[in-house]
Subunit: 226 residues, 2 copies
DNA sequence: CGGCATCCACAGTGATACTG
DNA sequence: CAGTATCACTGTGGATGCCG
């Protein structure tokens, strides 16, 4: 991208990440941490492959990503965000938060990838009993496996992949799982929308949204075991 | 801009504000609140006038800005952010914060407008004695006049324009004033860099950065009256 | 297959000139 | 003052080709 040539922090940031596709590439890398070129192509429906190659070069030159050969088991180069790249997380979170009301538009024509839900999960879901025993939750969204772990400070780690040990399993559509874990919807309602739940439903009481009171679990838990 | 057609809040946000120049236009409107077309042209060095016209149409259609005729004294149409548009402030702040380390680059070739400093002022400067008597500070940056008012909650209102009543006046270069008000630099050091200060230097103790301890005022205040 | 490079039609951009 | 018109140029998206 051409520089704006303005002595302004916002303009300087946009000089680096203001190009088309750039922030979406960062989004993918924030979700996955380690990525192959093809993973990015899959996660960015609509991007032209030459454009992805070009952007990756620019991002590497700007110090936001690294591409490294991995030890023998892995044949391909792996792309990662540098710490400087990861520092974009708050900005991406803020933009995504602003964009939430727009999600209703164009629902049917839009492409969707199950792992995209990891970003809002990280952002909204909190542990409502930080002191209690740590919990590991396995999510299954289509073919995507996601691990959710409570930390001691009330935050919740959300990463792609399957956990070795789990306290419960939720299987269903991304939107419904997000609603369930941010306590916008009861387990009964989620089940009505096709969610499968394995484990003790009480575990769900641990989770709520950072932004709403989220009392649905408690009042409707009686229906949970149906 | 072409839509990304992805069911993702970030992609949806970028569908609206991801175009070149768009976020910088929002920046200008966040700083000034009410703007004429020409004010924007002046505040966005490098933009082509047809591009600005086109972006403004898009932003109006997206519900981020309004353009209205004003009552008789004002002959021209005035552009304002809608509440939805103002909600971009946190995202712009986050991006600007990320971009700060890049400000060192290209210092001499970059265009600069004095009022741009209002955004970082709003973001970093805080009132360290929220309980104390409210303070109004007048800033003069080149030809730009800025008013700074402490609120009761420790925040500081920063707006363009000259206050009717003021407790003190600071006149100097934007960067130096920003450093002074975020307590990165003592009054003596600021004066050495050409800052003119009228009023009781003790007032400066009220101000510090949200992100650093900022103890410069206290330890060096003895030199302030030189 | 993963990771690009090349080519091309076209949409977006920037500089300037012009208009009500 | 607030744009529109024009036009050369650059960036983008899609297809396809190449190479280990």
């Amino acid at each position: 991208m051409r520089s704006y040539h303005q002595r302004c922090a916002l303009a300087k940031a946009l000089d680096v990440v203001g190009d088309r596709w750039t922030l979406l590439i960062i989004r993918e890398l924030l979700i996955r941490d380690a990525c192959r070129y093809t993973d990015l192509l899959n996660g960015l429906p609509g991007i032209a492959t030459n454009l992805l190659a070009e952007r990756l070069k620019e991002l590497e030159a700007a110090g936001l990503i690294t591409r490294e050969d991995e030890p023998p088991p892995i044949a391909t180069k792996v792309l990662r965000l540098t710490s400087r790249g990861k520092e974009l997380a708050p900005a991406i979170a803020a933009l995504g938060w602003w964009g939430r009301p727009l999600l209703a538009e164009d629902v049917d024509n839009d492409a969707f990838r199950d792992h995209w839900v990891i970003l809002p999960l990280r952002q909204y879901v909190r542990d409502r009993s930080p002191g209690a025993r740590p919990i590991t939750l396995a999510l299954r969204l289509g073919k995507e496996h996601v691990t959710l772990e409570t930390a001691s400070d009330g935050s919740v780690r959300v990463q792609p992949g399957n956990p070795t040990r789990r306290d419960a399993l939720i299987d269903g559509e991304p939107g419904t799982i997000l609603a369930l874990l941010s306590a916008k919807v009861s387990l009964a309602a989620a089940r009505a929308k096709g969610v499968r739940f394995e484990g003790d439903p009480k575990i769900l009481r641990r989770f709520g949204s950072k932004y709403t009171s989220g009392v649905v679990h408690d009042s409707e838990n009686v229906h949970g075991r149906s």
